[in-house]
Symmetry: C2
Subunit: 411 residues, 2 copies
């Protein structure tokens, strides 16, 4: 069931906005075994929208249009597609009533322009929109489906899940598609590749994709087949061997981020954590507190850019700072001890680094990073040298620091 | 000069990767007065790549293909486009030598597969790649230009700037396109719209686009005309009136972010800043330290999730915490005072809020936020109620806090 996605909106052709709905839709469609073969972005132009749908319908069995269903003059997807499929637009009393009701509930009268949203191409099924005024539309042509969805993600997502996933699953090919993901930290891409290439290159099904970003490598396996058991068997066979090769470097087998995994370990161990960050400047704390409920294990921390803050708030001895410099093994260890004591946490984590672009030294070039973790016995310190610009160095330092906590808690 | 961009690569049709090159290219093209009318993403499939170029060439005068120029079997853009334009591929000795030299400089032999990258369609101009092996290609057809660029941004960007911007500027229409941007903080989108709609709706040139994201509204003006002076006059005429209406709510007229603007004001005033964050958990510090050189004015701060940290590191009196609760006007003011004193900063900024999803109270529902700023005289506190999920609340709180500092320093 070949599928194309057409995102409609002139703002998506500017440097400022991007179609992100298609990523979400692609994931949902893949879960049904339906691959996307083309994505197109066109502006609010009659001629461009028409040609995009016309061409897509020649190639694909499912064409999903996103956007252009609003009430204003710019929003012409409904009209253009109805015209292309030669279906007259008919006012749907039920939809009109629902839109009017939506406005009434907010104490407002429905503006005249919203009437257009109650127009439905003959034979189309309107899809309820619980989060906005624009209904979606499901149109059947010979052996083809055209689906029109509203552009705002908070309207599109629930509509697709409630009204489209089920019917599409029934039409989806017998061919089952299943994916598995391994997220790896602490190994560069080249090392991961070297380790697993001899293994995965023996398999064409599952297919293996390696995606690298700073400080993290993701391995995606995708298997297909006619029977679910067979597909799962294929995934297990390759997946188990991969797990054996990568071991503890795998921090997640699902959607969990590294900060979520660290949080789960802290909860599981009944431990608390506090951080002292210099170069990462709050990035580690921000990532830890992105997780709802993180206040149960994350007590807080200190961003110690200046030496005064390092001394006063994170307990780094002034003499040590002078002797060893703020980015050093000894000061980082002292910061981990200090923040642990000050915050009364079970674990104290500290990171110092030279993030750049300035501040590099002959023996401590830009990218030099120290990470220390203190518990009630002692502190462990590791040293790294990360490459890349300021943002990249900071991100990699935060990955390595969170991973340091994870590995400590796994033991 | 109508332009289409075709991004090539099967990974761009997965849920995990997105074409971002086209955003950058769109900005460069707009600066030449060249609008993009369609963007297409296709996988590494001969048939799909061919039809994408074929259709684009029927509509556009400039077609830019991105990706698929690498050395492996998947990379077929070069071959498919040469075939479509009926031009034989010829090995270019100069390019081959350059690729071989690139490998030699790294102490490696050129793998046989890289030879393909030295193939050039007859009549095409090869564009040097200083950051990779794949040269770009510039092909002229009757009244049309086809441009093939490598996919990695660090290769594409310098190549386009060095070898394409100039020649395209010469071919660009006499019509000049210029943009102006106003970034607004402290006003919701509806209020901005209400204020400026009566003004901008009187102008079709410049065209006005309003883009809203949490805590920030951007207004983009785009004017066109045959003479630069005229275009600038149009932008000034509308822009000046808009500035008068929006006043200090405009924090930037260019690419600067709010944290950069705050940093510039701090530098200009010779002031230093320290922060105490609870709910934002390091987000404000992270944003401030994203800016290179921020150590000149940002001293550090405290992430005070637990009450112990609020007391010990940010000087909040235990009695006050008990009486008023950690999210209160009084405690936030005490935190601003405390962090200012502890970090020896000129300004102390504190934020407390209930970010959710849990923790809401009858009188302090989720989204309730206090922001305090302390100087050597006293502290000012403001209260907000932000709507949305955890991430949205936190982001809006960080925007409002940074804006609070900006407005204080503007005086």
């Amino acid at each position: 069931m070949h599928t194309e996605i057409i995102a409609i909106g002139s703002e998506l052709l500017t440097p400022y906005r991007q179609d992100t709905n298609s990523l979400w839709l692609t994931e949902k469609l893949l879960s049904l075994g339906i691959p996307v073969i083309r994505k197109t972005v066109v502006g609010d132009s009659r001629v461009d929208i028409r040609s995009a749908f016309e061409e897509a319908l020649e190639r694909a069995e499912l064409v999903i249009g996103i956007g252009g269903l609003g009430p204003t003059q710019d929003d012409i997807t409904r009209e253009v597609v109805a015209d292309l499929l030669q279906r007259p637009l008919e006012e749907n009393a039920e939809i009109l009533a629902r839109i009017e009701e939506r406005f009434r509930a907010r104490g407002r009268r429905m503006p005249e322009v919203n009437k257009r949203q109650a127009l439905v191409p003959r034979g189309a099924v309107a899809l309820d929109n619980d989060n906005g005024t624009a209904p979606g539309l499901w149109l059947e042509e010979t052996n083809k489906v055209v689906l029109l969805l509203p552009g705002p993600p908070q309207e599109l997502m629930p509509m697709f899940e409630q009204h489209c996933l089920g019917p599409l699953r029934e039409r989806a090919p017998r061919n089952i598609l299943q994916t598995r993901v391994f997220k790896v930290v602490g190994m560069p891409e080249s090392e991961v590749e070297e380790k697993i290439a001899p293994l995965y290159s023996r398999y064409s099904n599952p297919a293996t994709t390696i995606l690298a970003s700073p400080g993290e490598v993701q391995i995606h396996l995708q298997a297909s087949g006619e029977r679910r058991e067979r597909v799962e068997h294929l995934l297990n066979e390759l997946g188990d061997q991969m797990e054996a090769l990568l071991g503890d470097n795998i921090f997640s087998r699902g959607p969990e981020t590294l900060e979520q995994v660290v949080g789960m370990y802290l909860l599981m161990r009944g431990a608390t954590l506090a951080v002292a960050e210099s170069c990462t400047g709050g990035l580690i704390a921000r990532r830890l507190t992105d997780v709802p409920g993180s206040s149960r294990y994350f007590l807080g921390g200190v961003i110690c850019y200046s030496n005064a803050v390092k001394e006063k708030l994170a307990g780094a001895p002034p003499k040590l700072l002078k002797q060893k410099g703020p980015v050093s093994e000894e000061v980082t260890a002292a910061l981990a001890r200090g923040i642990r004591r000050h915050a009364r946490a079970r674990l104290g984590l500290a990171v110092t680094c030279i993030a750049g672009p300035e501040g590099g030294l002959p023996l401590k070039p830009v990218g030099t990073t120290f990470i220390a973790l203190a518990d009630d016995h002692r502190e462990h310190v590791v040293k790294y040298r990360f490459l890349g610009d300021r943002e990249r160095v900071r991100w990699q330092a935060s990955q390595a620091a969170l991973d340091f906590v994870r590995r400590r808690l796994m033991k």
